[in-house]
Amino acid sequence: MFLNAVVLVLREILEAALLISVLLVFTHLFQKSWDRSFVLRTSWVAYSIVVGCLGAAAYSHYTPQISEMFDYVGQEIFNASVHLISFILILVLVFFVPSNRLAQRVSRRSQVAALCMIGIVMFAIIREGSEIMQYVGGIASQAENFTPVMLGGFIGAGIGVSTGVLLFYGLINLSVSWSFRVSLILLCLIAGNMGSQAVLLLTQADWLPYTPIAWNTSAVLPENSIVGHLLYALIGYEATPSVLQVSIYLLGIILIIVSPLFGKAWPQQHSLAGEN
């Protein structure tokens, strides 16, 4: 029970913590070049987490009713939608935000960017939070499981949040241009992961056709190993992904690479160093 709780909570918290850290790094990097709307202060994360937690509580409360929808695949469809919305919000973020004050309509675009980030964090909390609430709520209701599950949950959450905090401080202490590059690459992987998860859930709901398995690395790196869980949280690692999942994953990465924001990361003359 203890180890299961650690693994489940760690997996969910780590995924959310990495996402929040990367977006906070963006907030930090663009503070000077974006419009100073209130959401660009760090407090936006707090609001998103609070709203996300309320959403997660509501979702886990109504899970039985949601599961019965769409011929009993309601939960898969709901989760897939949340993943897809997050995937689209990340794309909007990297395609439409201003990367410097010279960009046109900075104010409007900054607000769009801020709303995207609020949305991404909120949906991540709803997604991960509801899974934790359902698991902990279900298991901890049995008296003998309470202590191991709670202890495991705290340890998993502690490791996840600490990794997020260290990633955030690690990234903002890099040089501005490297901090921007690494955050963008992480955002690429997170977006690919979201897209791939959405495809997996829609396939499970029979809304998408089954495609052959692209590869099987379960012998080399099993999904349920510690490294497997870490890689899942970081890059969405799966030992047996389908061809469609891999395609969507790559599509997500390619879309971010061709985005204007990614373009700003590499040529020396456009680096953000001069702006900050």
Binding site: F2, L151, G158, I159, Y169
Partner: protein, 436 residues
């Protein structure tokens, strides 16, 4: 803006949690493995014990054991003895060693042993779920303090980091509380090695700034002082000239106006630099603001009369701690200012009000007033409000209000520029600390 304190606390606590919790997980796994070995050893002992059991008794097939343990003793195909919870058939194949099996709705860990001298097979079994829970409870008890200690450790780190950053905070507040005119060096009595260089650099900078400012002040004061003599000579020459030529000649009048203006500028520059903190501190004494205001009004009355302005003084005698010369200069500047910018026949009210903690000196007029956009700039040196009325241009030089704010600052008083209570015009209010 990034906080050093937040960075230190968050990253230290995060590192501590990460390493402690990962270590706890590692400890959990190795403790569970050790517990497994311990339980296996117990089964081994149990098997040895059971193998010597007397099986002649009929009740030996229904021996009572706890729920978590079971055993069987076989001789060939015959069951010689068993615990009451063991099934009829053999718990395990007759292969010596540890294995797993399922019966009675649970999963069991089994140990099979052949007792050669007695020609018996002994099989003991233990419920895996119960032994796991038992082991886990023991191991988790050792992890619990680690978890409960984290808030305490976090608090300690917060206190230590805050304490460690105190010299930096002290330096920051020293710099913040330093008055604009305070160019004394920062004392580093409670300094740290890491801050010594910073304090040294700041003090060096203050020293250079002080030297430059002193040089500038001396230059202006000396220049103004040195200019007084030729200026007096010029005035005498002008007076003599007025007897030789027509005194109403346009060029002569302009020359006279120019000389007056230059003399005023020199006097004002001298007033500005005479009001230094050192001199001020030496000459401070208790003065009646009302009385001094009355005297100044009397001195300047001809100016108001010339412009047919109606001037009124309201209020009561109020004592303040001030330098007489500086206070007179402040008053004369405010009054001259009101006289200059109020049109002919205008109204001027000078008030002295006791506000409890403060004494407010106000000079209000019904002149054109000062646009909001210029209100913050009127106290700047050589700044003059644009006026369409040419008569107000002479002989002002834009130093009057700078002197007023400078003298107010020396008296720890504050100057506010407000709209006058008349339909138009300005009100200059100086709030002096009341003498206790």
């Amino acid at each position: 803006m990034r906080s050093i304190r937040l960075f230190l606390i968050a990253s230290i606590v995060a590192t501590l949690i990460l390493f402690n919790f990962v270590a706890a997980l590692q400890g959990y796994q190795s403790s569970m493995n050790e517990a497994d070995i311990l339980f296996d050893n117990q089964m081994l002992d149990l098997a040895r014990l059971v193998s010597n059991l007397d099986v002649s008794n009929a009740s030996s097939k229904d021996l009572r054991l706890g729920n978590d343990l079971a055993f069987q003793i076989w001789s060939g195909e015959q069951l010689l003895a068993a615990s009451n919870n063991a099934p009829e058939q053999a718990l395990q194949n007759f292969n010596p060693g540890f294995e797993y099996t399922n019966f009675d709705g649970y999963r069991w860990r089994t140990f099979t042993r052949f007792e050669a001298p007695l020609n018996r097979w002994v099989i003991v079994a233990e419920r895996t779920d119960l032994r796991f829970v038992l082991a886990e409870n023991v191991v988790l008890q050792s992890i619990l303090p680690l978890l409960l200690g984290i808030p305490l450790v976090g608090l300690l780190i917060w206190v230590i980091v805050s304490h460690g950053l105190r010299p930096l905070q002290q330096l920051s507040s020293d710099l913040k509380n330093k008055g604009a005119s305070d160019l004394s060096p920062i004392l580093s009595a409670d300094s740290r090695i890491e801050l010594d260089q910073v304090i040294e650099s700041i003090n060096g900078f203050i020293q250079r700034l002080s030297t430059v400012m002193e040089r500038e002040k001396r230059f202006s004061a000396d220049a103004a002082h040195e200019l007084r003599t030729p200026m007096s000579a010029l005035k005498v020459q002008l007076h003599n000239l007025s007897k030789e030529i027509d005194a109403n000649d346009e060029s002569f009048l302009q020359l006279q106006q120019g000389v007056d203006r230059m003399q005023h500028l020199i006097e004002q520059l001298l007033s500005l630099y005479r009001a230094t903190p050192e001199q001020f501190a030496n000459n401070c004494k208790t003065l009646d603001l009302y009385k001094i205001t009355q005297d100044q009004l009397a001195d300047l009355y001809p100016n108001f009369e010339k412009k047919r302005q109606n001037i009124e003084l309201i209020g009561d005698s109020s004592d303040i701690e001030a330098d007489q010369f500086a206070l007179e200069t402040l008053l004369s500047n405010l009054l001259v200012n009101a006289n200059r910018y109020t049109p002919e026949g205008g109204e001027i009210v000078v008030g002295i009000h006791d506000l409890g903690d403060e004494i407010c000196l106000s000079v209000e007029d019904n002149g054109p007033g000062i646009p909001d956009s210029e209100k913050t700039r009127v106290f700047d040196r050589f700044y003059r409000v644009d006026s369409k009325d040419d008569s107000s241009r002479s002989p002002g030089c834009g130093l009057g209000l700078t002197i007023v704010s400078h003298i107010a600052e020396l008296h720890h008083a504050r100057v506010e520029l407000k709209d006058s209570s008349f339909a138009s015009g300005s009100a200059f209010c100086v709030y002096f600390k009341k003498k206790r």
